[in-house]
Amino acid sequence: MSSQLSASAVALPPSTSVAVGGPTTDSPRSPDAPRSFWRRALGDAFARYGARIGAAWVILLAFCGVFAPFIANTHPLLLKMDGQWSMPLFRHLTPGDVVLLFATAMAALAYFGMRGFRPSQRLYIVVGAVLLMIPLARWFVTPPITVNYSQYREAEKAGRVQYILRTPVRYSPTDYLRDLPDRRLSPPTRHHWMGTERDSADVLSRMIHAARIALTIGFISTGIAVAIGVVVGGLMGFYAGTVDIIGMRLIEIFESIPTLVLLLTIVAVFERNIYLMMAIIGLTSWTSNARFVRAEFLRLRKQDFVQAAIAAGLPRRSVIFRHMLPNGVAPVLVSASFGVAAAILIESVLSFLGLGLVQEPSWGGMLNQARNEGGAFSWWMAIFPGTAIFLTVFAYNLIGESLRDALDPKLRKLD
């Protein structure tokens, strides 16, 4: 039994390793029960400093992404102008902001509350609620179409403001400071802690809002890649033979497609669309996941517990997804983690080349503004967004490495 779990064979004494053989996360356990395979693998990985630092950075980014409107916004949280109280920030939240905040709140509720539900049920509740929220937000959240950012600064200058409560960063990412024309492309100052862009937008504010794009593109494209990779690799490994040969050809075709070049081509002929970008990155990068799952499944299909499941007459769906998958999907975690880093890099390169999204702030696009006509170099436009890309990619690579070390007993023996 212990040999089916590559990692457990090394770390645990034989007596405990018997108890962890299977998908046991669904059932409630007493505190001293042996930890499940997943919990142990993740625990081992995140016991390392590298993974912890990486995870801390990703959590910080996620926080910035979710609460971006409350961290960096020109609209004040609370305003008393001409004797009238108002909350302009809430009035200007977009449907996307609302859905994101709602999803975060639901996830937090599911994690800390909902004691009576099993984890899978909690997942369904959260996903269902968020899906329900999307059309609701589209209907009911209607921010003003024309936004006047300079009204607050002008009103303040005119002395019409009695009370104002601002966000920590006082500028929206699309606030081009129309009333302050002398702040264009300035190095860091007291007002703009990371300087301003060519079109006067505040760099720090754009950096914070760009965390959204980086995280979404990483997670969604990797999610697509993992889903395709697991299904294709699982089928190849389970059926072997002809299916395996056809699958390998398919993998070879997709591996021989240079992702960046294909993406550039698609950007050239289709409209710029972040969802299309995610889909393409996901559709071209599933191959390593499929290879891993296939190798694991080829190993697993000969093992007694799988043979027993087949002999017991369980449906194939159940054998593949309930018995084999939980035992064979661990290596995918590693390649998924590196995949997120690669996806973020690809997006930043596209934006850097001026072929990314137009309106939304993106670290790659900001980095491109470091070089100006005539050879002038705006260091703040290179250092800050560039470091953000670097740290994010580094964080995911650190997590990926720690996971690989935790899951791969061969490497563990060496180090």
């Binding site: 070879e252 240079p258 050239a268 002929v269 289709f270 491109n368 070089r371 560039g386 060496l414």
Partner: protein, 358 residues
Amino acid sequence: MLSYIVRRLLLIVPTLLGMTALVFFIVALSPGGVGAALLSQEMGMRPSEREALRKYYNERYGLDKPIVVQYGRWLNSISPIGFPKRDDGKLGTFRVKAPDLGESYARGRRVDGMILEALPVTLLLNAISLPLTYGIATLVGIYAARHRGKLFDTVSGSFFLALWSVPVILAGVLMIGYLANQQYFKWFPAAGLSDMLAGSKPFFPARMPSGEFEPGWLLDRLWHLALPVLCLSYGQFAFLSKLSRGAVLENMRADFVRTARAKGLGERDVLFRHVLSNSLIPLITQAAHLLPAMIAGSVVVETIFSVPGMGRLLVDSIKLKDREVFLSITLIAGVLTLAGYLLADILYAVVDPRVSYE
């Protein structure tokens, strides 16, 4: 071995077909189809030019035919074997012919010519970068593995991971901003492959009759290539160093190494004859995966440093919406990647006698 190579080459055919189909159908399914270039390029053209452009596209793709037929026509014209087009517009008999990559109307040139100009530049960049990276990375990997757990090993381990994570766009922009800029240090040229006067320079460095030192064409070219090559190499260097450390470490514990030590071989012989040759195997397999990375890398590096190679041609043609050019470049990049995989597979079998494909 030979039968394996032949089988492998035959398997390339469906892969190539799949890849070309994917590339073509993406373009064909985009709004406007293959002929959309007509709309974007016709503006500002004289009626006679417009007529010529329409005739060209119709002849090449058969725009009134279904997409599958268009794909077949395109495939026939780009492939080196097929039915050559005769002067009267009909197709000849099936035989080896010159592949026809089409014509770029945005620039009024044939695509083959543009690619033949750009490809050597990219190959040159990679031909300098690849051996350099492999050579140094192998040595660093051996050193780290031999001094396992010591300061160099532990520090270099995290350092390489960090170096690998530095995005090329950041490194390139910083290099050009600080090392090739009047504001800071003007040590390197900021753009291009050679000096404007390079054509009139002697090849090797020389002392002029006037007593001045003349660096010559070769040094000038290397000076221009220094930053792009550095930019292209550092990430792969970090990755390969980690890989070679792991491979050397694994082999140092193998039985055959213990045997070699037991029979009294010197440390140097053990390391460089027994350990190294076996550690090269994962490095060679990795070479296949480096090729796509290099194509992607040269897109960025060539754009930042204004090097007139394939990557730059691709980005330029995308901005010009020059379909024939980027269709061809995507195709060539795919073929190169495929060739890289094939080469790595064959090399794998050559260097490791334990691997058998029979």
